[in-house]
Every structure is written in structure tokens, then in C-alpha cells.
């Protein structure tokens, strides 16, 4: 009897090789040699303390939503809405942070917590829609991204618009609620450490807690979970809520660490790139930290390559897009291998 065997899970090394080959091709098309292109990429991202700090800042921005996505995907819930959850987290953090005066040791946690709650509500909404109405979470989270964007657009150009700014943004945050920078005068803040701590915590949750156990059961074998006392409805909105919360925390970290106000240009698509980050990291929180660093290099390197090697920044996004396609495909790449019918 023949049966399709899944050989999907390719190692990260292959992905890396593929990226290098693709980038070389793009560089040749853009009229430089791969050698020159990679040299400018590396010097632009890892060439000095400021470059490294910028790369790590990009890493941080991707790491939060990627960890949120990881949590949901491990439960078999395809949360495509990290972008909207991140945006709403940033919005609540900006709205509350601007009006919260107090010493940093209390104000910063409050701002981060409000981002956490904002993202959590947005994620839990999709989770609730799934458990209550059986709404497909891929569709609902994707659509909620737009709802989040337009909601935020409305609020920052209306009720929450800063009285002092000309553009559409919230009132600035007082310096006491700014996240401390790790390297002075860069965008790299303590948020990186928070994200890494969350990764470690997630790994602990997956391997040691009943919540993590049930979540993995739901992801690997939903029918077995249902028949073995896993409360799927409750778990679904809880996981989606926490998933959104982690992404929302990422939004709050950008607002309080970098922009010091909220506007809808907060994210150039971190929530979408983070899907690729989570998949390249094989949905393992610790590998995802590494994958986020790799994507951080790509994101930060785009500008550097444009400046020094004359490769358009968009080329980087093309490569990221191809990586996502390859990852999506490799989950379905099957080969027919004969296995005994026993």
C-alpha cells in the first residue's frame, strides 16, 4: 500500500543556503557581485556597535510578534493577525502612556501592560469568534488586521489626535515612560531582554505546564485532545489572547522605546514577516530568537545595501516573500514513499 510520507520539515541550514543563493541572484541582477553585496550587507548590519544595535532593534521588533505567532501555531491556531494585534497594542500603550504621569518604575510597566492587554483583546476576539461561531481564524485574524488599521487611523486623526502635532498621531509620551536604551542613542532598548525572557518563558510553558501540554495536544491531535478532557473552547480564546498579547507587547515596546508616541506607521509589516520568522524557527521559541536575528539582519541590511552597493531595498522584501513561499510550500512538499500497510 502506498502512502504519502511527509518529508516537510527541512532544516534551517537549507533555508539559509536558499536565502544566500537567492540574494546572490538578486545582487547579480542589480548589477553588483554577490561578494560586494554581502560585504555591504554584513558591514551595514554587524560592522560596528551602532550597526549591531540597529540590527538587534529590528530583531526585537520581529521577535515579539513571532513569539506570539509561535504560541498560536503550536496550538494549531493559524493566527495571521499579529500585525493588527501589534498595532492595537501600540495604540493602547500610546493612548494610556501619553496621559500617565508617574515615575518610570511604575509608568513603564503600566504602558507595557496596556499594550499587552490591547493585543490580548484583539487576539481573544478572533479566538472567541472561532470557539463560539466556528469562524476560521485565518480569515478572521487577517480581516481584523484591516479593522485594527482603520480603527487606529480613525482614532489618531480624531479622538486621540495629538493637540500639538501636525500629522496623525497621539500625544507624545513623557520621557519618564520611555524604555531605557541598551546602547545610547540607538533604537535598541531593554525590550530585547524582555522578548528573550518571553521566549524562555514560552519554552517552559510548552514543556512543563498543563496549559502548554493541552495546547500542544490541540495542535498535534485535535480530536484526541477533545476526547481527553481538553476544554477546547476555553483554550482557543486563551491561546489567541496570549498570542495577541505578546504581539501587542511588541507594539508597546516600539511606542515607548522608539517612537514615544503612536502613529499607524508603527510597523512596516513586522506582524507578517514574523510568520516567516516563527516558521524558520520551527515554532521553537529559542530557535525563533535566532531566526529573528537572521531576519533582523535582512531588515536592517536592506538600507545599508541600497546605500553602499546600490541594491534596491525592495530586493530584500522580495527575498523575504520568497522565503515565506518556500516555507509554505515545504509543509506540503511530499514524496511518495512506499510504507508497509500494517
Amino acid at each position: 500500500m502506498k502512502r504519502a510520507l511527509n518529508i516537510a520539515r527541512g532544516p534551517m541550514v537549507l533555508t539559509l543556503l536558499l536565502v544566500i543563493v537567492l540574494m546572490s541572484i538578486v545582487m547579480v541582477i542589480a548589477g553588483t557581485t554577490p561578494w560586494e553585496g554581502f560585504a555591504s550587507l554584513l558591514s551595514g548590519t554587524l560592522g560596528g556597535p551602532r550597526e549591531i544595535a540597529e540590527t538587534l532593534a529590528q530583531t526585537t521588533a520581529l521577535l515579539f510578534p513571532a513569539l506570539g505567532i509561535c504560541l498560536a501555531f503550536r496550538a494549531g491556531l493559524f493566527n495571521i493577525g499579529a500585525e493588527g494585534q501589534l498595532l492595537l497594542g501600540g495604540l493602547t500603550a500610546g493612548a494610556i502612556g501619553a496621559h500617565f504621569a508617574g515615575p518610570g518604575w511604575i509608568a513603564i510597566p503600566v504602558v507595557l501592560a496596556s499594550g499587552f492587554v490591547g493585543g490580548a483583546l484583539w487576539g481573544a476576539l478572533a479566538g472567541w469568534m472561532k470557539s463560539r461561531f466556528n469562524a476560521n481564524e485565518i480569515i478572521s485574524t487577517l480581516m481584523l488586521n484591516y479593522v485594527a488599521l482603520y480603527l487606529a487611523n480613525y482614532l489618531v486623526s480624531g479622538p486621540l489626535k495629538s493637540p500639538v502635532a501636525t500629522g496623525s498621531e497621539t500625544a507624545p509620551l513623557p520621557p519618564s515612560v520611555w524604555l531605557p536604551a541598551l546602547v545610547p542613542d540607538t533604537r535598541l532598548t531593554v525590550a530585547l531582554l524582555i522578548a528573550i525572557a518571553i521566549a524562555v518563558l514560552l519554552q517552559f510553558v510548552f514543556t512543563r505546564t498543563v496549559f502548554g501540554y493541552e495546547l500542544r495536544a490541540l495542535g498535534e491531535a485535535p480530536e484526541a485532545a477533545r476526547r481527553n478532557h481538553v476544554n477546547i473552547g476555553r483554550l482557543t480564546w486563551l491561546v489567541m489572547g496570549l498570542s495577541g498579547a505578546i504581539a501587542g507587547l511588541g507594539g508597546a515596546a516600539i511606542v515607548s522605546g522608539e517612537l514615544h508616541r503612536f502613529n499607524t506607521q508603527l510597523s512596516p509589516g513586522y506582524g507578517f514577516t514574523a510568520i516567516a520568522v516563527a516558521l524558520v524557527g520551527d515554532l521553537n521559541p529559542l530557535w525563533i530568537c535566532l531566526a529573528a536575528f537572521g531576519f533582523g539582519i535582512l531588515e536592517a541590511g536592506g538600507l545599508a545595501m541600497q546605500a553602499s552597493a546600490n541594491i534596491p531595498e525592495m530586493a530584500i522584501h522580495i527575498i523575504e516573500g520568497i522565503i515565506i513561499l518556500v516555507l509554505a510550500a515545504r509543509r506540503y512538499v511530499t514524496t511518495r514513499v512506499e510504507v508497509p500497510a500494517v
Binding site: A221, A225, V342
Partner: protein, 464 residues
């Protein structure tokens, strides 16, 4: 077939088998799961290519699969001509096709309504359609893979009458099966496979079920644990329960299971057993009353989908369904030490053959997987156990062990509801036997008054 050999990664499925089939002869191929029967029949049919050896046949070979390959929403005649429809221009010549099917059915003595939709037909009739489809090609050799797995006893008799008539007209027939009673009753020759090799060739008239079983297992059958006297006390009360939808629903079922007894529900697949089991497990809504004062321990019917997380280790699976039990859940944490200890206990008590407790259960044989499922259900000495086909598709040794452990749980005072499609299993284990047909309990026997023939008639829907 000469010197047939076929290896798959990690296992030699068939190793140097010679087998001859003769016109007019019904040849039974028996063996445990994984012995290589299916592989050998697929090689004979040409669906699987052998690594070595030759297959020669005078004429064509037909194969009737265990799981029917019919299109439910097409009519009988459409299914039979599927793939070689008589044509009239671009259209199917319906009149010719229908006439062809009617003639074919008459010639083989198989009664059939060519215009019925296949999905509306009982399993036994669907099988006739499947058989007719193969017979239309007039095979000189006909292979039947577990042909009676889903049939009621009366349908089985009718089926073998057809097969015997077919053999008399000169077809060579090979039946792959594990039902030894049928082998004795209807075959002429028997080949026994074990671990990919042909270990015995027997003439049916000079052998017995015990001889065949010994050849299959390679020794004496492990005995099932003794039935001991118990004190009965009410445990599960089901009163007028209706659940599920359509033909396979449970319809006003009333029954009791007491502590210290095994109640067996006999019946052909699809007569409401699944709906009843799902209602007891609280997996579906139901009307009526199900009275049970403890958490039921459940051995579900589909171990791959419903009982195990196949990619997980034995340790992780050992606490599935028990993750909230005190002693396993410690605050927010899952007690990994306890999980490992329980996995070790299950492995010990049920003789689970695995290199260690951290291997994924999908790498284990079906028998060992089922031992984990049953072992987990029994580990906390439950008051009530629902066992649905607990030995289906597993080897004889594992089956005997599972049956023994169920009997021991009963002896220790558990109330056990056993739903099984294998009448023999129910006759071996049950203290009382109920028969389900079309969602209703149509028969009730104590162990003392068991009448195999009467149960068989009830299973097929006729009055006892």
C-alpha cells in the same frame, strides 16, 4: 508466485514466499497483522512491485479491497461500469450499461438493484457491488482482502455461497482474513504467514482452528485471565438514551452495567454503537439519562485519532486525559516525574515493546499502541470502563493481553461496557450480552443462555 520478496524501510514484509492458487479452489491466507498478507496480495494483484520473485497468472487478477472503493453518490450500475463505460458518441450508453450490469448480476447469482444509490445500501450489498465490479472483468484469479470484516453473520453465509459458486465455475480464489472460523468453514487450503514468511501450508479438512492459530502465533495462544466471582453493585445506568443522527443513531437505549461485570454489546458496525459510546463519553448531545458517578475510563475505537497523540512520546501520552487529575496537575505545572512513572507502570503491566519511554508512539506497532491506550485507561483503577473494539487490528498476543487485563479489572470490581464488532471477543469476555441493531437493543443474553446462532440472527435484523 515464486520467491516473492519485498522489503520496506526497516522491515522485510514478505520474504521468499512461494504460493500456488488453482482454479476452483478457495485458498485462505491467514496471519497476524503485519505478517505480510496484505503486501503479498497486493503483489499478486500487481499494485505493489516485488523486490524479487515472479508472479504468473493465466488470465487476469482481480482484487476486492477491505475498504470498498465505491462512489457513494453514484448508482450501482454507474459504479460497476466506472472507468469502462459503454459509450454512445460522447455520452454513456445508459441502456447498454444497465443491461450489462443486470446480466452480470444474474450470471453470478447476485441480486442487486442497478439503480439504487450505493450510499443507501447496507454494507453487505455494497460488497456485492464491489464484487460485481471485479467480476465484470472476468478474472481468473480473485483476491479478497478481509471480505467479511463489516458483514453480519447472515451476510457472511450469503457471501461465501457466492464465492463457493464462483470457485465451482473455475475461478481461483484467495481470501486474506484473520477469521479462523470462516477459514475452517469455507476454504480448501490454508497458507499461514508469520513475519513475512510462509510458515505453514495446511489442508482445511485435516486441520483445526487451534492448529492454525498456533501456526500464526508460532506457539500456544496465551490464555485469557480467569473469570472470578464478583459482587455486583449498580454503576452505570442508561435510560432511554437517543443520540446521533441518521441510520447510525442510538435510538432509545436502556441498559445497566454493574460493578464486577462485563456487559458486551454485539452488533454489526454502524448500528448505533458509536453514537451510544459518544453519548457516554459526553462527546455528543443526547436525550435520556446516563447515570454514572465517576469519570469514565474510555478506550475509544480509533486509537490513532481519538486516543493518542501519535507524534508524542509514551511518557506524554501516558497522562493524556488525566492532565487535570490531582497528583498530575500541580498548580500550573504538569508533574513530569509522575508522567514518567505512569508510563513505566503501563509499559511494565502491559508489556509494551518499546526501546524506551521517549520514543514517539507512531513508531510502535498497533498492538503496542493499543496496550498504551488500555493501560492508561486502567491505570487509576476506574469504576467504569468503556472499551470500544479494544483489540481491533492488533496481533493475537497483544489482544489476549488486553482481554486479560480487562477481565482482571472486572474481577477487581470495575464495571465494563464492551462494544465490539467481533462476536468471539464478546463471547470470551462478557457476563451479559446485548445485541444492537438499527440503534436499538434487540437482544439480551446472560452468559449461561448464550446462543450464538440467535445472536447472529439478531445482529442481522431478523427476530431470534
Amino acid at each position: 508466485m515464486r520467491g516473492i520478496r519485498k522489503a520496506y524501510p526497516g522491515v522485510v514484509a514478505v520474504n521468499g514466499v512461494d504460493l500456488d492458487l488453482y482454479p476452483g479452489e478457495i485458498h485462505a491466507l491467514v496471519g497476524e497483522n503485519g505478517a505480510g498478507k496484505s503486501t503479498l496480495s497486493n503483489i499478486a494483484f500487481g499494485e505493489v512491485k516485488a523486490d524479487a520473485g515472479t508472479v504468473k497468472a493465466n488470465g487476469s487478477v482481480g482484487l476486492v479491497h477491505q475498504h470498498f472503493e465505491l462512489v457513494g453518490r453514484l448508482r450501482v450500475w454507474q459504479n460497476i461500469v466506472l472507468g469502462r463505460e459503454p459509450r454512445k458518441g460522447l455520452r454513456i450508453d445508459e441502456a447498454a450499461a444497465r443491461a450489462m450490469v443486470t446480466a452480470l448480476a444474474a450470471k453470478n447469482g447476485l441480486e442487486i438493484d442497478p439503480d439504487a444509490f450505493v450510499e443507501d445500501l447496507p454494507i453487505g450489498v455494497q460488497q456485492r457491488v464491489e464484487l460485481l465490479r471485479e467480476l465484470e472483468r472476468e478474472p481468473t484469479v480473485l483476491l479478497l482482502d478481509e471480505p467479511t470484516a463489516a458483514l453480519a453473520p447472515a451476510e457472511i453465509d450469503a457471501f461465501f455461497a457466492t464465492i463457493t459458486a464462483l470457485a465451482k465455475r473455475g475461478t481461483a480464489i484467495m481470501i486474506v482474513t484473520h477469521k479462523l472460523q470462516e477459514v475452517i468453514a469455507y476454504s480448501h487450503k490454508i497458507s499461514v504467514m508469520r513475519h513475512g514468511e510462509l510458515v505453514a501450508k495446511l489442508d482445511t479438512y485435516s486441520t483445526s482452528v487451534d492448529d492454525i492459530a498456533r501456526a500464526m502465533v508460532g506457539g500456544d495462544l496465551p490464555p485469557v485471565a480467569e473469570r472470578e466471582p464478583t459482587t455486583l453493585a449498580p454503576c452505570l445506568t442508561i435510560d432511554d438514551v437517543t443520540a446521533g443522527t441518521g441510520a447510525a443513531r442510538a435510538d432509545g437505549v436502556t441498559l445497566q452495567v454493574q460493578s464486577g461485570e462485563i456487559v458486551g454489546i454485539a452488533g454489526v458496525e454502524g448500528n448505533g454503537q458509536t453514537a451510544l459510546a459518544d453519548a457516554i463519553a459526553k462527546m455528543i448531545d443526547y436525550e435520556g439519562v446516563i447515570g454514572l458517578d465517576s469519570k469514565p475510563a474510555i478506550v475509544p475505537q480509533d486509537r490513532h485519532r481519538e486516543a493518542l497523540v501519535m507524534s508524542w512520546s509514551i511518557v506524554d501520552n501516558a497522562v493524556l486525559g488525566r492532565q487535570h487529575d490531582p497528583g498530575i496537575q500541580k498548580g500550573l505545572l504538569l508533574d513530569g516525574t509522575r508522567a514518567r512513572r505512569d508510563a513505566e507502570a503501563i509499559k511494565e503491566r502491559f508489556d509494551v515493546r518499546a526501546a524506551n519511554l521517549d520514543v514517539a508512539v507512531k513508531t510502535l506497532s498497533g498492538g503496542n499502541q493499543q496496550k498504551i491506550v488500555v493501560g492508561r485507561a486502567l491505570i487509576d483503577d476506574p469504576k467504569f470502563v468503556l472499551a470500544y473494539n479494544p483489540t481491533r487490528g492488533i496481533d493475537v498476543g497483544a489482544a489476549a493481553l488486553v482481554q486479560s487485563r480487562l477481565m482482571q479489572a472486572r474481577n477487581a470490581g470495575a464495571a465494563i461496557l464492551l462494544i465490539s464488532f467481533e462476536l468471539d471477543e464478546i463471547l470470551t469476555l462478557a457476563d451479559r450480552i446485548l445485541v444492537m441493531y438499527r440503534g436499538k437493543v434487540v437482544g439480551n443474553f446472560t452468559r449461561a443462555q448464550v446462543d450464538r446462532a440467535a445472536i447472529g440472527r439478531l445482529m442481522a435484523g431478523s427476530a431470534a
